[in-house]
Amino acid sequence: MPGAAPPAVSPPRARPVADEAGDVAAPMIAARGLRKSYDGRLDILKGVDLAVSPGERVALIGANGCGKSTLLKCLIALHGISGGSLSTMGRDLSRPVGPEVQRQVRRQTGFVFQKHCLVRRRTVLSNVVHGFFGEAGSWRAFSHNLAPAGWREAAMESLAEVRLAERALARADSLSGGQQQRVAIARALVRRPRLLIADEPAASLDPVSGRNVMELFTRLCATHGITLLFTSHDMAHALGHASRVVALKQGRVLFDKPPSQVTPADLKETFDD
């Protein structure tokens, strides 16, 4: 197999303490009247109120086009907001922020997309090492061959957590869809983020792989004390793996309650036109 041999799996490591961790006592996410429009016309989010505390697992549900993905991208400044206020881990994102603040927020956030978004021609290990982009000297995250020993060990540890350490040197596109999504989770967790955001992480997987991925999320977030915010169209995932369910409808929060209090009528109202 090409490339250098992967390092041995090391014992679990402590989450690195970033100097710019922001206000650790602050809510993970605090949005009030958050609005987002494109080209100043098409309103996607029309005043979203959302507060997420550290350690919570929040499921965001809603029909296609209701603004779930847009909201998630606003939370890490991938999209700027058009109105209202937003703070993520104590960083004010209400106004356009510079690249440094963006990096500070993103360094402490793991993001898992619906499509795994791996670099398919690279090895599994290199894809996980990519999780260190944004760190000082991050040009070395380009490939596992160039990465510092600590990053390689952390990547192997992350891969072991998703039970893919033995495929470290396989090409990413040689893995099944479920395995690729697990690599994406390992990449998101390699820096031990404080917040993990997942945009329909099980949508492109078969039911069994989807359930496994969701169980993996819940277990890892609980183990490492990571706050989880995920979107899902599968109500079994939303109600089974979240401690709170937030429904969006036409750019606004329709309800925000524990899964045990969500009724079939709530779900009907959420998804009806």
Partner: protein
């Protein structure tokens, strides 16, 4: 169904008056031009004996040892011009393509200026570049190498930029979400994704460089072309046929190797 029984549309219903006028104008232009610059049957008939006579004087190709040694030295120089010019051109094309790729470039709208510059390099024919470089750095291989370099930037700059624009967007977005800057996204997501395309374009550039380098000597920019020009100027047609044969074999070998490499990359 209200459309039942409706007559089929006319055979030329898609031909608008504008299309018709354009086609007729284009046809007239080609016919008029043929009358001025295309060879007439009489010219072709009178040229055939001259052609047969020339081919006769070119046979058999020269195998004089001193001449063959000179050709070998020139062929090596031609290869050096092609390889070095193409290699430098390919390396320089990467950052230039990045600056010119729409949606990827850190220059934003400034990318159009970079693209325009690459178009300028590509539009000017290689022989004209060779004349310019011979006038500035003097006769010889250096002018040829610079010509190939500029020509390669014009070619690869465009194809590399297009490949970067077409690269998969999802991995780029994923790296951006982790805090990667533009340079990291280029190295981490874009280049690995477009590597087969980059290698393909580079091999085509190398083939093109070998073909170009054999004629650059005609204007004094080094290589085997210089020997060919001398052979024709001094009416040494047997020498000329040897050179043409060698050029043919070199280009054929280059295309064979490039095809093999391309097949491996796929």
């Amino acid at each position: 169904m209200t459309d039942a029984g409706k007559a089929a549309p006319g055979r030329l219903s898609g031909l608008t008056p504008l299309h018709f006028v354009t086609l007729v104008t284009l046809g007239a232009l080609i016919l008029a031009s043929m009358g001025q610059v295309a060879p007439s049957p009489r010219q072709l008939a009178s040229g055939v004996p001259g052609m047969v006579d020339l081919v006769g004087r070119m046979m058999p190709p020269s195998t004089e040892p001193g001449f063959l040694w000179r050709v070998t030295v020139r062929i090596v120089e031609t290869f050096q011009i092609a390889l070095v010019g193409a290699a430098i051109g390919i390396v320089l094309s990467l950052p230039i393509a990045w600056l010119g790729a729409r949606g990827v470039s850190p220059l934003g709208r400034g990318s159009y200026l970079v693209k325009a510059l690459v178009s300028l390099l590509r539009t000017i024919p290689d022989l004209v570049w060779a004349l310019l470089f011979v006038a500035t750095v003097g006769l010889g291989a250096v002018a040829g190498t610079m010509t190939i370099m500029v020509d390669t930037i014009g070619f690869c700059g465009r194809f590399f930029a297009e490949a970067m624009e077409d690269a998969e967007k999802e991995p780029q977005e994923a790296l951006s979400a982790m805090g990667a800057g533009r340079g990291s996204i280029l190295a981490g997501a874009i280049l690995p994704d477009i590597m087969p395309s980059l290698i393909n374009s580079s091999l085509f550039a190398l083939e093109k460089a070998v073909r170009s380098s054999v004629v650059l000597g005609l204007v004094g920019a080094g290589g085997i072309g210089q020997e060919l020009k001398v052979a024709f100027d001094l009416f040494q047609y047997r020498n000329a046929s040897t050179i043409i044969l060698v050029i043919f074999l070199i280009v054929l070998a280059m295309e064979f190797c490039a095809d093999k490499l391309r097949a491996r990359v796929q």
